[in-house]
Symmetry: C3
Subunit: 280 residues, 3 copies
């Protein structure tokens, strides 16, 4: 990822940045290999506050890894940070690949498992206290595409996170994709009449649950990305920590539209964005 | 609405009070016109506390506006309060009608858009801090009926709200339809074997989510009112802020039954009611 | 239940301990009769803290009562505690059997109603303050099996609870089935390729909602146990207080796997367990 301006990564690029890894044929089977590195990375949260995150490849959230159901996955994890970390993936895999064992500083661990089932799976550090290791930024998404691809769409990734600046088990600032109010001030451009497919993850610790709301529109919900047809249409959905869904929607009128948790105190502390719907 | 006794509005009337507006033929199309006025209205929450609400037409919640899918809606909004307010509707509409722009004191703004899609849509003031403008009472429901009407039922509206009396971003008192414990002390009369259709909205700020529970019975859930068949049967449902559903149930035994969030500390602080099931 | 070691009950037995009561033919109809007794029971929560629970039959959670849809149920409730209690059942029943009236100390009350509908129904004391009576441990599950039995499975019961030790309307410690970290330190043994059917209940007060997550696997959700086919597959589910579901899953790789709420601060305060998947 290319840092833009004052940020170590470009949140606008993160939105549509899918890491497909490197495809290798091994023992007559397709293996998809990813390489990620944990480091401490300072992130300017606002004019006054710079927060030392624990990042993967310099990003919060970590890279959006993307594969297809049934492939073999290999994630080469370098811990170049000063403390132990791990990568725990949601989805199915053997106990030995569950990522609850510390990878000590300076070490590399290789996670390898089958990409199954299709869906949207968070991954995150699982070193205790997990609240702290997640709160510092070590989380991201693994998207496993279904055997038959979903219809074409403008695909976006949004991860909701919180920052416990005062270490009081309480978030002081929130963000979509790491940077508070980034998309509030720099709207996400999408197109009128264009299907948008949003991969949405809640990784906010300490708050029991959050909602996600888009203005002036409804979305279709594919829970956990585990279905090919939607289960529900609404404009507010409640998500506990680590819940994630695919939401699909299309704006039919151009203009500027907010999106935010409808816990408005969270929205007002940084978890706020705009879609700018461009006319076609 | 006619004030009864010490309240500026009658919560018993609010339950079944649907505002169908005024129907106008305009350019060969049916247009349904509503007129609402924001004011500061003192509401006696209990023997000790009178709270200055921001009300619409003197009510908390605001009038339950009701229309049919596909109609044109016009909401004439007079702000006769001393501060800016707005009406932001959930559902679909153009950006210009999204109600995030302040309507200054003394001004009138006319919202106009198509009634779509059918379902249950909250509306509320969207002036910052939204937690405060919602917490003061500026919220209500817009019900858009589906093209083919739902079966006959005794239809009720319940809106859960909270009051942050000490301005500590924490609710001290809660209520169904604005008045703490009103329906606890004056049970809602319904009839044995009669289908009840409940339009239920959670507009409680600061609490991450609430539940809604009815005693001694199960209900069918129509999420966001966006379906004609239920998705689930239960007796406890979790709802984040701005979530709303249609719940249907029938009591088969007469008698007195509680309903309340199963966050019991919220129930015990005013969000408590009774159904009195009358024999037939 | 036989106390084991330092606990008044054996949490390992509680997992698979279903109380089918005593079957009686009465007036040509099958009646299933249960007998439970409320008492104050000290429970050692950890090396430092012993908490005086309000238990049923010496257990927290109370016995898992189990019946079949359509049977007649009789629950003989002895209150041998020093304060009033009651048994309020979720599910359907007449107002007179709703369990909101106090059963004074030393008294017996007989609840009798039809077992309907099939599903998973919490029961708990409903004496005010309910937060306190639930927080002290007076809750359990009534499972009503459907007319056609569910497929064979290894059936488990897990109830999530919280302890407000300092009476500050805030939980200090959490537990599955009453004893903090019990299953973390003594993994629940299940078998590879064996279908597990988990009856899961959230009875945590004060926290708006919790999630339940299993590692390295997905589960099928039967909401409120009210369906015979699953509504959703995921690995994290959000549940408000008194929400309960059947979750089904099968581990295909042997080894050790965590389960816990993904509100990690709750997991780290005692609501943590392991499945030990034994090879076949
Ligand atoms: Cu870590
Ligand atoms: Cu909105
Ligand atoms: Cu306002
Ligand atoms: Cu109940
Ligand atoms: Cu009690
Ligand atoms: Cu996990
Ligand atoms: Na896998
Ligand atoms: Na929902
Ligand atoms: Na509209
Ligand atoms: Na539910
Ligand atoms: Na019953
Ligand atoms: Na879910
Ligand atoms: Zn269009
Ligand atoms: Zn996780
Ligand atoms: Zn908004
Ligand atoms: Zn009936
Ligand atoms: Zn809203
Ligand atoms: Zn109750
Ligand atoms: Zn298997
Ligand atoms: Zn209950
Ligand atoms: Zn975990």
């Amino acid at each position: 990822p290319t840092p833009t301006g004052k940020y170590p990564y470009d949140p606008m690029a993160v939105l549509r940045d899918f890491d497909y890894g490197q495809v290798i044929q091994e023992n007559g089977r397709l293996l998809r290999q990813f390489e990620v590195t944990a480091r401490s990375t300072p992130v300017k949260l606002n004019a006054a506050i710079t927060f030392m995150t624990w990042s993967l490849n310099g990003r919060v959230p970590a890279p959006t890894l993307r594969a297809k159901a049934g492939e073999r996955l290999r994630i080469i994890f370098h811990n170049e940070d000063a403390t132990s970390h791990s990568l725990h993936f949601h989805g199915t895999h053997p106990a030995s690949m569950d990522g609850v064992k510390p990878v000590r500083r300076g070490k590399t661990f290789i996670y390898e498992f089958d990409a199954e089932p299709y869906g949207v799976h968070p991954y995150h550090c699982h070193i205790a206290p997990v609240t702290h290791h997640i709160g510092k930024g070590l989380y991201g998404l693994l998207i496993i595409d279904p055997p038959v691809e979903r219809p074409p769409a403008d695909e976006l990734v949004l991860v909701m996170g919180g920052y416990d600046l005062k270490k009081q088990d309480k978030n002081d600032i929130y963000a979509f994709n790491g940077i508070p109010n980034f998309y509030r001030d720099r709207p996400i451009e999408i197109y009128q009449h264009q299907l948008v497919r949003l991969y949405l993850l809640n990784m906010i610790e300490f708050d029991a649950a959050v909602t996600f709301h888009i203005h002036a529109n409804m979305f279709q919900v594919y829970p956990t990305g585990r279905t090919l047809t939607p289960s529900e249409e609404t404009d507010v959905i409640t998500m506990g920590p680590a819940e994630r869904h695919i939401l699909e929607f299309t704006y039919h009128y151009p203009g500027m539209y907010m999106f935010h948790p409808h816990q408005d105190q969270i929205a007002e502390r940084g978890c706020m964005g705009h879609f700018k719907v461009l006319p076609v």
